[in-house]
């Protein structure tokens, strides 16, 4: 570790002020990603703004046909929340499989979505459910939010406040974790919301993306068979020590089938 300033603001406005004043400041919520990065000096902020004391970022509630989850909601809270389990069980199930217990006890949905790690789980739920990202400044559609590996539409100093998930008729998530790294090699979050089908794929590419060919097929026929013969193009997918792009492309189809089966 090395020296940096540590701030713990009590309000969203104070946090935004601190982050806006210093372009090299970084927000921290659960710390499960930032702290290891600091240790390895992959990230060298001049100051760290601890969001954990900001009440406006907390809470999970149902508002009409939407589920609104505050940025500071821990994975454990999402996994066990009666509201989430009732409204979007696939999201609760996903949250219960992120990392290990220690990560789920600290890591937050806002941190995960804002970080946009290609192997993270939540981005596919956000994209697959066509959620809206609420920041301190504006509302951003999921389709506009994710912009590739570790990149989002958030501007410097802009803070993710909450995520609004429309409640779907059906939703399912399936993922394959690499046994050696536990990284998601490919995951599929598939939802039917207001009659529209969205298929979001995480893990396989440099960022979460929609599989539109599968969406079209599922809109006509909501069953695993509808996607069984749709081959994902391997072009542009990740290829690394854990598996080739071709292997990941193969997994996309298998995970899509299993996500549909899970959604029922």
């Amino acid at each position: 570790m090395y020296d940096f300033e540590y701030h713990k603001p009590g309000s969203l406005a104070d946090a935004v002020k601190l982050l806006s004043a210093d372009p090299d400041a970084r927000p921290i919520s659960g710390g499960q990603t930032l702290l290891p990065a600091l240790k390895h000096r992959l990230n060298k902020p001049t100051s760290v703004v601890d969001l954990s004391g900001i009440a406006e970022l907390k809470g999970i509630k149902k508002e009409g046909n939407k589920l609104v989850i505050g940025a500071l909601a821990k994975h454990f809270e999402v996994a066990t929340s009666p509201e989430v389990k009732a409204a979007i069980p696939a999201l609760a199930q996903m949250a219960g499989t992120i990392g290990d217990t220690q990560v789920r006890n600290r890591g937050t949905i806002g941190g995960s979505v804002a970080n946009n790690d290609p192997a993270a789980d939540y981005p596919s739920a956000v994209l697959g459910l066509n959620a809206t990202i609420v920041t301190d400044k504006r509302r951003i559609a999921a389709d506009d939010f994710f912009q590739g590996m570790f990149t989002t539409a958030l501007e410097p100093g802009e803070l993710l406040v909450a995520i609004e998930f429309p409640i779907p008729e059906k939703a399912g998530y399936a993922k394959m974790r690499n046994p050696a790294s536990r990284y998601v090699m490919a995951g599929a979050f598939i939802a039917k919301t207001g009659g529209a089908v969205r298929v979001a794929i995480n893990g396989a590419g440099p960022g979460v993306f929609r599989q539109t060919e599968m969406e079209t097929a599922l809109a006509a026929n909501w069953s695993p068979d509808a996607v069984a013969n749709i081959k994902q193009d391997a072009d542009g997918l990740n290829s690394d020590i854990h598996g080739s792009a071709e292997y990941r492309a193969h997994l996309v189809t298998v995970m899509a089938k299993r996500a549909i089966a899970a959604a029922g």
Binding site: F76, A180, I241, H242, G243
Partner: protein, 900 residues
Amino acid sequence: MTRLIVNGAEQVVAAPPEARLSTVLRDGLGLTGTKIGCDAGDCGACTVLVDGAQVCACLVPLGQAEGARVQTVEGLAADPMGAALQHAFQAHGAAQCGYCTPGMLMAAMEVLQASPRPAEAQVMAALGGVLCRCTGYRKIVTAVMEAHRFLDAPAAPLPEAGQAVGARMGRADGWPKLDGREAYGADAAPADALWLRPVRSPHAHARFTLGDTAPLLARHPGLERVLAAADVPGRNGYGIYPDIKDQAVFAEGLVRYRGDVVCALVGTREAVEAVRVEELPLDWEVLPPLAEPGAALAEGAPALHERWPDNVLTTGRVRRGDAAAALAASVHVAEGRWQTSFVEHAYVEPEAGWARRVGDRIEVFASTQAPYMDLEEVAGVLGLPHAAVRIVPTACGGGFGGKLDVAVQPMLAIAAWLLRRSVRATWSRSESMASSTKRHPARIEARAGCDAEGRLTALEFEGIYDTGAYASWGPTVAGRVPAHSTGPYRVPHVRSRARAVLTNNPPSGAFRGFGVPQAAIAQEALWDRLADAAGIDRLEFRLINALRAGDATATGQVIAASAGLPACLEALRPRWAALREEAAAENAAGGPLRHGVGIACMWYGIGNTGMSNPSTMRITLEPGGRLAFHNGAVDIGQGSTTVLLQIAADALGLPASAFALVLGDTDLTADAGKTSASRQTFVSGRAAMEAGLALRDAILLRANAGPEGRLALSDGMLTVDGRPLHLEAPLEGLGRFDPPTVPLDADGQGVPYATYGFAAQIAALAVDTELGTIRLKRIVAAHDVGRAINPLLVEGQIEGGIAQGIGLALMEEYLPGRTENLHDYLIPTVGDVPAIESILIEDPEPLGPYGAKGIGEPALVPTAPAIFSAIRDATGAEINRIPALPHRVLEAIRRKEGAG
């Protein structure tokens, strides 16, 4: 100032808010029971409860713990359920090295606070983020599920005199591992010790120059010294073999792998950590590396070391009969090629220790498996006589062969000697992984034949083992492999060769099995194919060929006794039939999951290959009645402290509880040899038995009692058959044992080992044929251990060995420079280890103490081949690139389908 409630007491700490909670607990509050294994949230060793929820303390900035309730292992005993959990861990043998134990206990407490009688699935989920490399997790899971039974139960009584051997006794050194008191390499250094930080090569092969470091020292107040090659007072080289000291403490202008040490910074912790590597006056000339053995063996390849111009470190051979002719005459022949990967030991405790100069002597306290070898290395690099060096092993948080080589010891000794200050060091996880030895990656080609009745006729075996940049234990591996290349079977004609080849990779050294696990993968795959070709059941095929007492091995050794493989296979037979039936029924249902059952056997020579490896044990009885067992065998978690005590107790005729333990300090204990080659129970155990018997004889002589005399010791008074015996002077029982062997000749003929462990294991699993993933369902392990001195600890070795075998088979592949952490390189977690049934076969070894032989390495060897046998059974796919990662399994399935 930050306020915390730690174990119920308010604490106000002055550390900055960005400090990690783990550091604050250890360094600020002295609560060193919380361990650090990776400092990156991967290993879970630092797991504590914050407001009742388990967290990695290394990923909690102090500022986020303001006002929180923090519970650590030190506070556990005050909570009734916490105390019950500790008792459950002790009774179930759930702690081995103990380094992950505080984290495990705290993770378990999270679930126990919510559900005092948790279901297995709840426990598995709760423990999923804490890595254990020793136990295989099963005994931990059981202990957590059973903790409630210990809420009111008194601790189990220790065995009576004469009842220790064979008892399921809890570890004699167990409690300090459960309450946070155990001091490991990083826990006990004096507060004023300086810190040493090595600077390592980022290149696999390069020349370098280190310029003037004076400006650096001037820039960093608190930085006391930059040590480099010229500062080494004695020989700048170390290595396992007395005549091969090829690894420099500080490289001399040339580095041969990522991890070679260029220099070391010594100073205050803040000062050595503040130095950026870019600040050092280092000039590099990067050279092309020899990245794998093929390149190193190629004609015209540059020599890594002048001493080995062809880059071949050692060649081991066994030749018997005429293998080529016998193969040509065989009814069935099978052949194949296999390739395995580097495997990291991944002990959860990184290398750590400290050293101090006491007058003209040097004292080194470090986590080690081999104190007397450390003593020789430290004496060598300091140019001191052996008598001037004292090595005190700290508790060892796992070794598995990796802590047989020195790590911190020579550097710390040099620094403490020159600076006349205490100096400490702890490797970071990445540094540990980059610098430490690995399991040899092997490329094996093998061919075997049998006759129409399934009797093996011949084996040809050619192994190329990537031994990395330095010799380390490479010669041992190359020597051991050919002697084991037939497996535990009668094979009349053998031509076997293993070569250790130098490359610019990390040094491959000793890792549980010394090359034998890699060879077993090839052998056992061949037997499956031959069994199928001959139309014989795979278990029965092995039984037909199993070595029995009276048979000769490929080295010409006639196994006189204790060859329990047939008994192992017969014990497995009913489970084999039942599991195969189960798999067939499940497969009948169809679907992408295919179920399979596999089997593999192993043998393992106990102790060094055809070389002396003695052990000396000493028991003393003072006139005041103090009975002390001086035991220099290092217990790295496997349990030798307990097992040797059980043996000594029964040999002497007093209960284990009567002994004071004097452990592993080269000033106080005799050389017991290293903790390796599964030798401590057999070799040191026999020495302990002899020591106990010798002291008993001395006592009986003085008491004028017969050989059946009953001893008792209470309140410092020794009685023999009820009559007090007053001693004028201390009595001593000395025991020494060196297993009889005959060195191997040029054809590998001789008696390499005095005895062998034998085993057979069954793996039952399901293959997801759409993904290539494997789900293990069950392992059944039958091991001939001669005599189980402590069945609880033997099971612990079997389960832990199986877990490492699972890692070798299915997930672990170390890539230098790319997987130097525990998130890119993961070891099996609690969810990866299935139910394990252990069956102990006791075919007594006449040379062993009460018939016992070793179990440490035998446990691991058959697991990977049994898994591959099961994958083949399930899908027909042959696994020959290891580990069997999902994409490789899927490829193998497709190859099979394509060929089919």
